[in-house]
């Protein structure tokens, strides 16, 4: 008994060391899961308020590019309004006494604008923190887009803040298709360069050319169809492969990102419910 006690005292530091390492390791393992503890992330109140404070300073330096992007987007939107108005005018006489115009349910969505208060691009698993949360209507699994294109998917939400998994994270795959011929494949980041990602699962019979545009496929319930993802920068195929190895230049520059829009589907619940019942039967 005495020996055992002596032994324990002698190696107490080693035991403490092992204990702490096991705790850290189990935290790492636990964090591999999709949902993580909201309390111990940057959506935690203390941490996010600190980030928000520092962001008020940093944002000042990004104002110029943000303004440029906003004005560009504005003009594009205005052009669209004019075009649509013209279309409505031409359609009016025909629809006078028939059924009134209705949007297809998968296109009923609205945008929630949010500000990026923390963003990394140099890790293998990058995350983005937004300054909007549950009370602003953000829920997990919503898609997030910037002015140029797809940014990522909301992961965790608390009352005032939310954390987004951006395209720049190995854990996420975004289903994309080519604008010109509708072939789809998952886009995944390889962890090397924040400007590029890889597209897999495009069979060799598909005709590609450099600079082809990739957009979201609309198959997942996070993004509507046709939001830009990137351009083909380079593609390779070895004679024995049946799939292309495609390098995609991402549309969004994650270094300068400051304002994003979260996509809120009105019929998200209904779609999920019917998909769930289909799987059950």
């Amino acid at each position: 008994m005495n020996n055992l006690l002596n032994f324990l005292i002698k190696y107490s530091v080693v035991f403490l060391f092992l204990l702490l390492e096991i705790i850290s390791f189990s935290l790492i393992i636990k964090n591999q899961e999709y949902q993580k503890n909201v309390f111990l992330t940057s959506s935690n109140a203390v941490v996010s308020s600190l980030y928000e404070m520092s962001n008020t300073v940093v944002e000042f330096f990004k104002l110029r590019t943000a303004n440029d992007n906003l004005s560009e987007e504005n003009t594009a939107l205005k052009n669209q309004i004019i075009k649509l108005q013209a279309e409505v005018m031409t359609l009016k006489p025909q629809t006078k006494d028939s059924v009134h115009f209705q949007l297809p349910p998968e296109l009923e969505y609205e945008f929630i604008s949010a500000k990026v208060i923390n963003c990394s691009t140099n890790k293998l698993q990058n995350y983005i923190t937004l300054n909007k949360g549950y009370i602003d209507g953000i829920r997990p699994d919503m898609g997030v887009i910037g002015d140029e294109g797809v940014v990522g998917i909301v992961k965790t939400v608390n009352t005032k803040y939310s954390v987004v998994i951006p395209v720049l994270n190995e854990k996420i795959r975004i289903n994309c298709k080519f604008k010109k011929n509708n072939y789809t494949g998952p886009l995944q980041w390889d962890g090397l360069d924040y400007r590029y990602a890889n597209l897999n699962d495009i069979a060799r019979h598909v005709e590609l050319s450099l600079g082809d545009t990739l957009v979201t496929s609309g198959y997942a319930s996070n993004f509507p169809e046709g939001i830009p993802v990137g351009l083909i920068e380079d593609f390779r195929i070895s004679p024995s492969d049946s799939y292309y190895n495609i390098k995609v230049r991402l549309a969004v520059n994650f270094r300068t990102i400051s304002h994003v829009k979260v996509i809120k589907y009105m019929n998200y619940g209904e779609q999920k419910a019917i998909e769930a019942t289909a799987e059950e039967n």
């Binding site: 060391f17 702490l20 111990l40 940057s42 890790k123």
Partner: protein, 174 residues
Amino acid sequence: MRLLLKKINMILFLQNIVRFILLVLVQVLVLNNIQFLGFLNPYIYVLFILSLPVKLPRWLSLLLAFVLGLTIDVFSDTMGMHAFATVLVAFVRNNIIKLFTTIDEGNNPTPSFYTFGVGAYVKYVVSIVFIHHFTLFFIEAFSFEHFWILLLKILLSTTVSILIILGIQSLKRK
């Protein structure tokens, strides 16, 4: 005599708390945003563990290292990774100090250029920072898939961290 000792301990205590807060803030607000070439991310908060008094009980330095690592983890959404690396470094620290220096009985210096001598201190910093970065980057990657790129990342980040840490330390007066 005892009062004097107590006073010195108090100063040491406050020094370390201020160092902890400053290093965490600098790391989280400034250095985590340095993304040169997409490769470099210096982690200088290790300086806190490097500068703990030599004769500090080992259990205390382990606990402090765990708290430090966890704080950095919470700020950078990397649950447990930094904590793992810092605890490991705190554990091997005493052995590395013994390897490079001889500390007189009854002395309890804070590691620096003046107490260790330039050569020994540089060796001490280099080995600790390298162990820390090596563990951290491999834990983060969790595989040996991109081994050489990862090693390049580790070496570059380690070099920059060491330069920054030695720079900070050389500014300090005796």
